[in-house]
């Protein structure tokens, strides 16, 4: 933490960044995102095991962007991958972000493409045990059981779109769910509308999801919503040997193809 404070101090003092997005103490032992713009405020930064939420989401927020690039972000491995993916998707440029990461007990600032990519490659996102348990559980289910499972889970959804808002890769200015000509996704949070929303979310994040889990953390009604995008990313990984968030120049897995992609299911 001391190192982080030193680094942050240095960045602000040299005016190398306009703001440092980091974690600060929140309420009831939670951590909350903080935006450090002054040297005095640097002391608010904390960095421990509670700091799991993906702060890259703020890089898409106009109010934050208004501070001006470069912006520093206190980053978990997932955040780094997210930033790489955002660069690949032309939402950020190299140099826009100073990525603060922990590596072997030191705090490093990554800016260059090679550094970001190398760190992203060497630091995969690790699922918490309960996520792995849930994945295994679903794997063992029959298709009917899975349907019941998801119907029960999705029935909780009242479409607050916290999953969308918390996802750093949901940066569309007009989400498909807000498109009404035609109405691709029913607005109402009835089972059909909820199903449509979640299948679209998963499809849209297929091959893009960094698996940071922010959506699940954000969901106020406790739907294990990341499982869908994790599954989508799993297929993409397994079928197309494509891992998002490790290559600043990678095209999307779903807008590219290989002539020998699997087609055993096609008659």
């Amino acid at each position: 933490m001391k190192q982080l404070h030193e680094r942050a101090h240095e960045l602000l003092e040299q005016k190398a960044v306009s703001v440092i997005i980091g974690y600060g103490e929140g309420t009831e032992g939670r951590v909350r995102p903080v935006f450090i713009r002054t040297l005095e405020a640097v002391r608010l930064l904390v960095w421990d095991d509670r700091c799991r939420v993906n702060l890259a989401v703020y890089l898409n927020k106009p109010e934050i962007r208004k501070f001006g690039f470069p912006i520093a972000v206190v980053s978990t491995p997932a955040t780094v991958r997210t930033i790489v993916q955002l660069i690949a998707e032309h939402q950020l440029s190299i140099g826009d972000v100073v990525v603060l990461v922990r590596e072997n007990d030191t705090v490093r600032a990554l800016i260059q493409k090679e550094d970001l990519e190398q760190y992203a490659r060497n630091n995969p996102v690790i699922f918490p045990p309960f996520v792995i348990e849930e994945i295994e559980l679903l794997k063992k289910m029959s298709i009917e059981e899975r349907f019941t499972y998801w119907q029960e889970e999705l029935a909780k959804c009242f479409k607050c779109y916290a999953c969308r808002a918390a996802c750093p890769l949901c940066y569309c200015e007009k989400c498909i769910t807000d498109v009404n000509q035609p109405q691709w996704v029913c607005v109402a949070p009835h089972p059909v509308g909820v199903f449509e929303w979640h299948i679209n979310r998963a499809m849209h994040l297929a091959g893009r999801c960094i698996e940071c889990g922010s959506c699940t953390i954000a969901c106020p009604v406790g739907i294990p919503i990341a499982l869908l995008t994790i599954e989508a990313t799993r297929v993409v990984k397994e079928e197309f040997a494509f891992t998002p968030g490790i290559d600043c120049n990678a095209p999307s897995a779903l807008s590219t193809f290989r002539v020998d992609d699997k087609e055993t299911f096609i008659r």
């Binding site: 929140g26 309420t27 009831e28 939670r30 951590v31 909350r32 995102p33 903080v34 935006f35 939420v53 989401v57 703020y58 927020k61 106009p62 109010e63 934050i64 909780k156 009242f158 479409k159 607050c160 779109y161 916290a162 969308r164 808002a165 918390a166 807000d178 109405q183 029913c186 607005v187 109402a188 949070p189 009835h190 922010s214 953390i217 954000a218 106020p220 009604v221 406790g222």
Partner: protein
């Protein structure tokens, strides 16, 4: 039973609730789904959760459901046919059990809001069939701030029966309305008449951080205060706070269907969404998140009080507990009362 006050053991209370279901009532009570606590239809009273501070979802969709079909329409060979769901609606008699007093207050305010003026037949019919049995709070957490917004942990407003857990696994109850009376009557001997008691010792005490008047007063001139931007920087613009709020009542009318047949739905909406106030022209009067956050606070603590002489908040703390970005309303309101003192309107 002639007394308006009674005691009942926990076991007997469960028996009463079981019986309620048996005679065809719908029982809605707090139950767990995973780590979260919801109000759900209950078949087995054993699943009811008693030990909690606050549920994750508010019980508001018992009167104001997240999706409400309002009407259906059909076009056939030049004629249009309409079905008004308000006429078709036949809500089951429903016992809402185990709400916190703040939720009961909120529900009463919500119903009052919808029934103002011409009235809302959907909310009205549901409210008529709803009996609210609330349980006073013996515990609270740092997110709770009912006392600061004029509600108390054993507030009786809105409840039909108010229970207070007392010693020996017993509840002390007050019957507050006719509906409450009907409920207690059906419970027969399980309810033991009792003299009115002071049960303050069982009720949690919650420090009053500020007064509603203070907030309303401060906000009156605070429209352009920089605090809105600072406080809402971390807001990600989801609808969690509004959807879990027992009082938020904004909705969106949606038509679903085809050229010939369709249904009109009333769905929840949130002032936190960027599209909430988007005009067809592309102009958005509240174009950044801080303005939306300000709207939410101003609406609850300034506009509603101005128009209706009450707050749009009961201090249940759900919005803060569930906020993915840890936007803490109580903390924010405290800041407002402390920091907005000197700011004058600069418009």
């Amino acid at each position: 039973m002639s007394h308006r006050t009674f005691t009942i053991t926990h076991e007997n209370l469960l028996d009463v609730l079981t019986n309620t279901i048996a005679v065809g009532n719908r029982l809605v009570a707090p139950v767990r789904r995973g780590k979260k606590l919801f109000f759900r239809d209950v078949q087995e009273v054993q699943s009811i959760v008693f030990d909690f501070i606050q549920s994750d979802e508010s019980p508001k969709d018992l009167v104001f459901p997240r999706v409400e079909p309002m009407l259906a329409h059909e076009y056939n060979a030049g004629n249009v046919y309409l079905i008004d769901f308000a006429e078709k609606l036949q809500p089951l008699p429903t016992i809402l059990f185990g709400t916190r007093p703040c939720d009961a207050v909120a529900l009463s305010l919500l119903i009052e809001f919808f029934n103002e003026g011409v009235g809302d037949p959907f909310v009205e019919q549901r409210a008529e069939n709803l009996t609210i049995i609330s349980i006073a709070c013996t515990r609270a957490d740092s997110y709770c701030f009912c006392t600061s917004v004029g509600v108390s942990p054993n507030d009786s407003r809105g409840s039909d029966v108010l229970l207070t857990p007392i010693d020996n696994d017993q509840y002390y109850g007050i019957v507050l309305t006719e509906k409450g009376n009907a409920f207690v009557k059906k419970g027969g001997d399980n309810f033991i008449p009792s003299e009115p008691k002071d049960v303050a010792q069982y009720i949690v005490t919650l420090r009053e951080e500020f007064t509603p008047q203070e907030i309303t007063q401060r906000l009156a001139n605070a429209f352009n205060h920089p605090l809105w931007m600072d406080a809402s920087l971390r807001c990600i613009g989801c609808g969690t706070c509004t959807y879990v709020c027992p009082l938020c009542s904004c909705f969106d009318i949606q038509d679903e269907g085809t050229q010939t047949k369709g249904v009109r739905l009333r769905c929840w909406d949130s002032c936190g969404f960027s599209l909430f106030t988007l005009h067809t022209s592309g102009h958005n009067p509240r174009h950044i998140q801080s303005e939306r956050w300000r709207q939410r606070v101003m609406h609850k603590f300034s506009y509603i009080p101005q128009n209706r002489n009450l707050l749009g908040c009961v201090g249940c703390g759900r919005c803060s507990r569930l906020c993915p970005a840890d936007m803490n309303l109580k903390e924010h309101l405290c800041t407002i009362t402390k920091e907005m003192t000197e700011v004058k309107a600069d418009r």
